[in-house]
Symmetry: C2
Subunit: 1006 residues, 2 copies
Amino acid sequence: EGLETSSASKATRTLPIEPLDTFPRRHIGPKASSVEQMLQTLDPPAKSLDDFVKQVIPSDVLSSRNLQISSTSGSSRHLDRGLTESELLQEMERIMSQNKPGLSFIGQGYADTKVPEVIKRNVFENPAWYTSYTPYQPEISQGRLESLLNFQTMVTDLTGLAIANASVLDEPTAAAEAMTLSLGALPMSRQKRPNKAFLVSNTCHPQTIAVLESRAQGFGIKIVVADVLADNCEAVEDLGSDLVGVLVQYPDTHGGVADYKSLAEKVHKSGSLLSVATDLLALTTLTPPGEFGADIALGNAQRFGVPLGYGGPHAAFFATSEKYKRKIPGRLIGMSKDRLGNPAARLALQTREQHIRREKATSNICTAQALLANMSAFYAVYHGPKGLTEIAKNVTAMTRYIQQRLVQAGFQTGNGPAMDNKPAPFDTFIVATGEKTGAIFEKLESESIHVRKLDDSRISISVDETTDMAKAHKLLAAMDVSVDSSNPAEIDVSVPEQFKRTTPFLTHPVFNSYHSETELLRYIYHLQSKDLSLVHSMIPLGSCTMKLNATAEMAPVTWPTVSSLHPFVPLESAKGYKVMTEQLESDLASITGFHSVSLQPNSGAQGEFAGLRVIREYLKHKNAEDGKKRDVCLIPVSAHGTNPASAAMCGMRVVPVKCENSTGNLDMADLKAKCEKHSDEIGAIMITYPSTFGVFEPNIKAVCDMIHEHGGQVYMDGANMNAQIGLCSPGEIGADVCHLNLHKTFCIPHGGGGPGVGPIGVKEHLAPFLPGHLRGETGGEHAIAPVSGAPWGSASILPISYAYIKMMGPVGLTQATKITLLNANYILARLKPHYNILYTNAEGRCAHEFILDVRPLKETAGVEAIDIAKRLQDYGFHAPTMSWPVANTLMIEPTESESKEELDRFCDALISIRKEIAAVENGKVPKEGNVLKMAPHTQQDLLRSEWDRPYSREEAAYPLPYLRERKFWPAVARLDDAYGDTNLFCTCAPVEDSEDITGAAAPTPT
Amino acid sequence: EGLETSSASKATRTLPIEPLDTFPRRHIGPKASSVEQMLQTLDPPAKSLDDFVKQVIPSDVLSSRNLQISSTSGSSRHLDRGLTESELLQEMERIMSQNKPGLSFIGQGYADTKVPEVIKRNVFENPAWYTSYTPYQPEISQGRLESLLNFQTMVTDLTGLAIANASVLDEPTAAAEAMTLSLGALPMSRQKRPNKAFLVSNTCHPQTIAVLESRAQGFGIKIVVADVLADNCEAVEDLGSDLVGVLVQYPDTHGGVADYKSLAEKVHKSGSLLSVATDLLALTTLTPPGEFGADIALGNAQRFGVPLGYGGPHAAFFATSEKYKRKIPGRLIGMSKDRLGNPAARLALQTREQHIRREKATSNICTAQALLANMSAFYAVYHGPKGLTEIAKNVTAMTRYIQQRLVQAGFQTGNGPAMDNKPAPFDTFIVATGEKTGAIFEKLESESIHVRKLDDSRISISVDETTDMAKAHKLLAAMDVSVDSSNPAEIDVSVPEQFKRTTPFLTHPVFNSYHSETELLRYIYHLQSKDLSLVHSMIPLGSCTMKLNATAEMAPVTWPTVSSLHPFVPLESAKGYKVMTEQLESDLASITGFHSVSLQPNSGAQGEFAGLRVIREYLKHKNAEDGKKRDVCLIPVSAHGTNPASAAMCGMRVVPVKCENSTGNLDMADLKAKCEKHSDEIGAIMITYPSTFGVFEPNIKAVCDMIHEHGGQVYMDGANMNAQIGLCSPGEIGADVCHLNLHKTFCIPHGGGGPGVGPIGVKEHLAPFLPGHLRGETGGEHAIAPVSGAPWGSASILPISYAYIKMMGPVGLTQATKITLLNANYILARLKPHYNILYTNAEGRCAHEFILDVRPLKETAGVEAIDIAKRLQDYGFHAPTMSWPVANTLMIEPTESESKEELDRFCDALISIRKEIAAVENGKVPKEGNVLKMAPHTQQDLLRSEWDRPYSREEAAYPLPYLRERKFWPAVARLDDAYGDTNLFCTCAPVEDSEDITGAAAPTPT
Ligand SMILES: Cc1ncc(COP(=O)(O)O)c(C=O)c1O
Ligand SMILES: Cc1ncc(COP(=O)(O)O)c(C=O)c1O
Ligand SMILES: O=C([O-])O
């Protein structure tokens, strides 16, 4: 209430005069008067918001402490109120201007790029693109599906492999996925060999090798780093049947290009796979990996129009051959057709995602990098094959120009041990700086020119699209090299014959039509017009927390002081980031009740993996004495699929714990039994709070105690943190670790399927084990190996969450939590007379979300959750989470950002649909071909002259009056999933359900 | 061709290596291969682009010089190629960072404001809003029409007057419009009185008084500046029947508030009108002018969420009482209904705009400030009445706080002569700084704190929404005032009882519903979804030049270094602007072949007015000797309506010159006759080139010579400059003055009806007369009085044109002109077999546009231009310019930014429509109720169950296949104009056509 305007409408103002552009009232949807009405509407009504909260959250869980949010000034003071929007932006400006991007020649997997302004403004800065959800509802997602298909086409064309996914988190984790795919492709006997090893070229990027280390442990794989080509690939032969696979980098981390054909043959002969980490821009001129025998190609698409962002977010790509298409990690877009036979894109082989539900999983990737993949795809669309090739050639020209100058000045250069001054194949070369290395490096740094220091006698220099003559000359001058530009007048940019690309690429019209800004702009808007996002209506996805992504939060992301930093600039050049990340860590620690936070994991699932790895490392240290191998992970059957997958990836055995059928709560008897049975083996329990069923379980503290008693650690999945902030906290409840999805609770937009950030918070005893990085810039004393390519993961979007926390302040954050609970319970109260509600607590309350149980309607009307979901599209709404965590149900989460008016519109829609179902139940309308079964309806469907349906066109399109004013049209009719999976990707993998896990029909929400 | 990519796809690069993000290939639509095809398709075909150009432009007009564009570095060098996008942005950053906004307390009609981030990103920076055209096609413009209606409602509510328009150019010109409306409201006898005078309060803003001076001359009005209330309004009495009207400022320029009730009575008794320049924010707490007797209220809506922008663009508002609604200048939105009876907004009383076609005109306003009006409207929607009031009270509190501190420190303060330390009524007060004035001012300036220096002993201080405690304390500290903030603890913010506002305002739901960011965002997108803009398809409006508004051009507009400067900061604080405007002036001079350029006029029509004023002033000086009063302005009958209006406003008598019926060319015999008849009286000719009929007239040089021989000056209307750049120029052709519409040729977006910029270029002899400003910062030795409130008019959008010119470079600009000619001739060639073309030159070529003569179809099929225009909406296109310059025709201008593919789609649509017309001609389809007459078709119209039309729903919606993929739906069916004008605004003024001027049916294009 006090939040509505920060000062009452009175005739005086008190000093200090408070500014008015306060944020909580903009972020929180319902007005004070609506809150009163909503409290009255609850069933039973509540007297006050605080009374209501007490009915929702168990009293022993409710926190008594006051939330503390640090002041942005870095002083030890805490904020009392949130910063206003203008204060925040001023502070952000002040802090981030301490970052000095300088001039980077660092390379090492990141290259600066010219983000086309038209893409920056109309995709990256456009809420219609960044607020959309993963395209699980293809009929209202054709725009981004088409764009992701462009991304996949771009990757397959350039890599020369048959199939590519719609992005993975970063290049190092892509390499890790390649390793595990390679493992999974081996015969079981070889998968189980105790000394199995993944052979990694010593010219891979160091961060890739580091992340492989962290990922290999759980699978019991040894990482062998070697010169893979040496002595006729001796290392391959040496490993024999222990070989899981081989990874090389092409061009390599020193800019070299090698011929891997015979390596590929040897690897294949040994029955394993060759993976190639590569560079899309280089592949415009170099032979693609698919043509020299690679089974997998992967890399970072960042240099295709995505800012450096101090390490992320960027879209990594992953391509493989036809043969492994069903093993490809992450999301895959495929073509199918709709009910009317029109071609339509969709997430293909979705049931594959069931893999991540099982302990056999080798990948837990869920949130990916859709928004950045789309940017890269548009970049390729804008430049086309010719434009990209020109950029590549310019990069080569500039590289060789700098190299020639250095050689003329007497430096030795090269791309590997042989410093033979041969022209660099692409964008990078080594300079032998010998004894002067330190001095040169310091001189360069003093002018904010960043190169990569390889060791005490060598630096390396990488060139990118933004390197122009002026920058080259700045570098050369700083190295005391004369820049008389008369000689040589011509730079050869050709590639050595044996590596020359001959296959055309990006021949599809989409990459050859939109090269003027006008054309590209219209293409972007055309795609956008097909997609429903938060700019249209609420997206009530349970477990996904689709709340406001406020513009003031988003603005700094594209500031040059935020977006232009290479992740490996010296830390002194990134002081603004240091201030921001330290404050964010401390605020998140305060919010979660933990001691320390790591911001490195770049998705929730990555957070899970990191958190479990921390636990395991801690247990290893602690139990070294008593020799206990604590590798059992208890996971309730209601858990999100990523939980067992993450546990499996950490080498844990998953033991399911039952839930009570009647309440949804954890079955304490079963838990006790499992605890006792595995007492010596329990490493952890993974538990979501409030539960994935949308209830604050009453026994949560008892659960934590029980696990602790048996020597295990409690991992809390914080996906539902939006229901907790300011009212309770994982730390106080008893958890030892928790991940947060900043892209849910902390306002990072979903971007149509990513980016995300999944920090973990830990109790003090676990802090020493938080993930480290190459330069020791993160993590504790006993840091686990890095889980992301960059020290702070997707650093450049952290300002979003930072801004949210600072603008809301402690009071605003807590109020938001109360309202998120109220909004959910309000919808529940309005729908209860019409639908079954699956679970509530003893007081009849849900948490921030709840499950609509529509299973009985199948019997009475032949209607399933999917029919309601599709019919909701006709009403202008995105469906709630479908069939998760319980098959054939709908899980509704409104968030605090939705106003009562919007909630009412949504309730009206669902109630109206319930009437349509009743008409079927009554026999007034047939079970087949009715308005639900035919939903969603497209314009073209309704405009056909023939009409023989049991409902009118207008009933199809405008079932409620508001639709005549605001109508969002699905671009295609209901998708034919079976057709797509059968025809485009041959046959679909049979889905074996893991008996213990509830729900099977749908992918997991993100 | 060379423009497609800046370096060929070859194996070497030449030094210096050229960057690739070149702009011309992004700006120009057709590919090189398309250009070849198009040249072949012409009728007759052309061998090469240069051959073709020679067929279009008369050889004596074609220029032989090379265009010169200055380098951005400010050196005397010229650009050879255009800057790339990244180079431009870097240079722009370098230049504009020399601007130092500092801390402004200047006031004087401009107040800083917190632009809500959600509005900035989603309106100001959103091409869907900024690239749309004036909403003359209401069916595809309902979004901005609704928003402009919100603007009008906001203005009427706050001013307490019955009717407001949809913005005028700035506050001073609004005051000028008030003066001329006052004049027009007088009986004719009084209008003609030789000593008539407009009485202006001496507490009006000085720039307002200055602009009134310049506007008054043409009307023969004397501006009398006085203390209007003194001695019981003696000045009013004194003027008697010479009184044209009175203007006061409320609150006034010194922050004072006076009771104008008895003044109003006196003014009314004298039979004239009281105008009040006012402040919308102040009116949330003060009695509105409408309630104390004002007939007109006007002012600047800038402080409602529009950046200062060093003076503009901002939306000024203009409100009056019911009685004068048909005299209100500018555009007016009104409600009407569509064919189906649904309510729909539209430009009301459009035929009123005919006024500007006639020499009797008192206003020439055409392009206004739609985009900024929309921003202000959204600001009001977001804050609502309560929020706005709170902001006003905070401003008052901060003002009084600073004032109290100064008083405590011993300063005398006040709001006028009586320095009585009474609390400032709103946001401004005077400080008696006495002898220390100079020292204080300098001290403040040295800390970049800007106040207004009133004279040698007084400064004034104004507070705005952005003034917080920190800023206040900075100011106070710099004035050596202690800031112990303990006393007083409370600031009274109440208004003196007699001025207290009692009437509620903004009670309409639209101002009380969208106060959360989510709600506002959806409202913005909802409105946007109804509007067709350049993000959808080409907008082929003849004379309007709807070309690409590139993102790189737009980006700097919202940089703080560009947007945050008060127009009256010391010039040393705006060095970046100085560099940019000087270069832009010099480039425009080079392009137009002139000596000097003034950037002050903020629309084309303002440019005309300024240019004619310059001519008149020159002639006055020159002819003082021979006593000739050269007040005749020759204007071809084909001229744009603003031409005669501008001439009339300059006190010139308009003499029409005929055009040949067969060729459209100026009738040389008639011209000669008129010249001879008026030889001693000719002041000027106004001529558009290429002509408004879309042809490069062959006699243009002879025309210029003839005028010069008779002692007149040649004024060229440069609206069609897009056909000239690099190929010919007004200066070389023989013109003495020319205005440019930067919002046409130079890429400032149309913003849905403004902003615009209308600089004038002049020959050397006219340079001394270019418009000056308050501080002598612009204009020549004999400068005319200012025509705009700010020295450089709408300064903050000048970077758009600057960027365009620098990125295109001389070659790119010239190539664009060639392609714009080609694109028009290509469409002409494709349509010629199907439609009559009104005029071409002897070679069968048009210029950059041409007229489709559909008049014969009325006879054959009962089809008129409007039916084709409306049916084009069904095909996804905005209509060409309708019924201008020739009634019942369509004028098509494609611009160079459209690709061949888009041109073809448009031609296909028109050819398909021609077939639909043929079906009527053949009698296959009835003359009434056919698909043309019923167009445009809305979703709701087509989805109704009953269907009895002679065409199918699908024929209505998808007449061509591309529409199934890309369909834009009109939000309402065809508007009922008559209904709206009759019912909403009583009866419409009978339109008396000025016999000499062709074309009468439609408003003039902008
Ligand atoms: C309960 C739960 N846990 C984990 C995740 C995985 O998070 P992410 O998609 O960020 O990897 C999700 C995502 O929806 C979730 O809902
Ligand atoms: C030929 C011509 N002259 C003058 C103008 C007036 O320009 P503005 O709308 O910028 O005042 C226009 C606008 O369309 C025009 O087409
Ligand atoms: O918009 C016009 O009708 O010219």
